[in-house]
Amino acid sequence: MSSAYIAIHSAFGLMLLWVFVFYFWRDYRVDAFRDHVFSIRDRLFLFAARGGVSFDDPAYTCLRYRMNVVLRYAHRFTLTGFFVTLLHPSRFPSFDRTRWEGALKANADPDTCERLREFDTILSIAILQLMLYRSFLLYLLLRPILRFVEPREVMRSSPNVVSSVEQVEAEALEEEARRRAKDGDAVLVG
């Protein structure tokens, strides 16, 4: 086999690998994440439709709003952002996190609170998985391990990870608040 053939073959293969790792894979992970969050949002809607919580309850509207923002800015959730917030955690609770906690406390029914917290945890796990799995190499490394590790346990045992995920989410919420302020608080319906 000639060296020219091997060189062309290798260069062509490397370019295709580049396209796969930096374009197709990342695009796919964001789409998979959005699909997951849409399914969580649908379950939350059904929970409310069955009378679990009122559609006007601040805890419900707050959680749904957060899901919407996460869906919109999913393409900005990167591993880089996650590690930066992990190394430089904010000492200030975010506005939306405080509002969410306040809305939960105001809700009298403990079962409803429990269910809503469950939705919140699932959302946080989904965000963490997106940030980790966006890197193809990290996906290959972590996916087999995470089959045997319960993500909830990881979140429970690592408060720093939880606060980093919350901070990444808070940045998206702040971006949305800035845009809403700029666009005159237009609410997207439909």
């Binding site: 000639s2 919407n68 880089t80 190394l87 302020a181």
Partner: protein, 134 residues
């Protein structure tokens, strides 16, 4: 439903935000450099290859050698790889069309139950809005 705006952040909060944004920008720049350096390296290999072959062989000779060296197993792998990409892209387009078709009705039905139903603001096919792209 309108959402209240966050209170004005304190100076310390703003400084922390700025610090994190700076680090984020630096690291993002680094990762972008790595990303495109990999692509440049691919082109570099092609350049070095053509340079080493220049004057010794013609494009036609390389083409003939490639064709001559092409084995059935290579052909199968090319067809399999190319077919896989086409299949993936086709499936993606199909999914986006399905999302567009099904989500419209679902959203309308949900709005009957919840008049204040809010949306993610993604496009009708479930992709990032062009103005949100970085």
């Amino acid at each position: 439903m309108a959402f209240p705006s966050p209170a004005t952040p304190s100076k310390i909060e703003l400084e922390h935000g700025l610090k994190v944004a700076r680090i984020n920008a630096t690291v993002t720049l680094g990762t972008t450099i790595i990303k495109y350096a990999a692509l440049v390296a691919c082109f570099g290999f092609i350049y070095l290859m053509t340079e080493s072959l220049a004057g010794r062989t013609t494009l036609a000779t390389i083409g003939l050698r490639i064709m001559g060296n092409l084995r059935v197993s290579d052909g199968i792998s090319f067809v399999f790889g190319g077919g896989g990409v086409l299949y993936g892209v086709g499936q993606r387009q199909l999914r986006r069309r399905s999302v567009e078709r099904l989500s419209k009705m679902k959203n309308e039905l949900e709005q009957v139950i919840d008049q204040g139903r809010s949306s993610s603001g993604l496009t009708s096919t479930g992709t990032t809005r062009p103005e949100d792209e970085e």
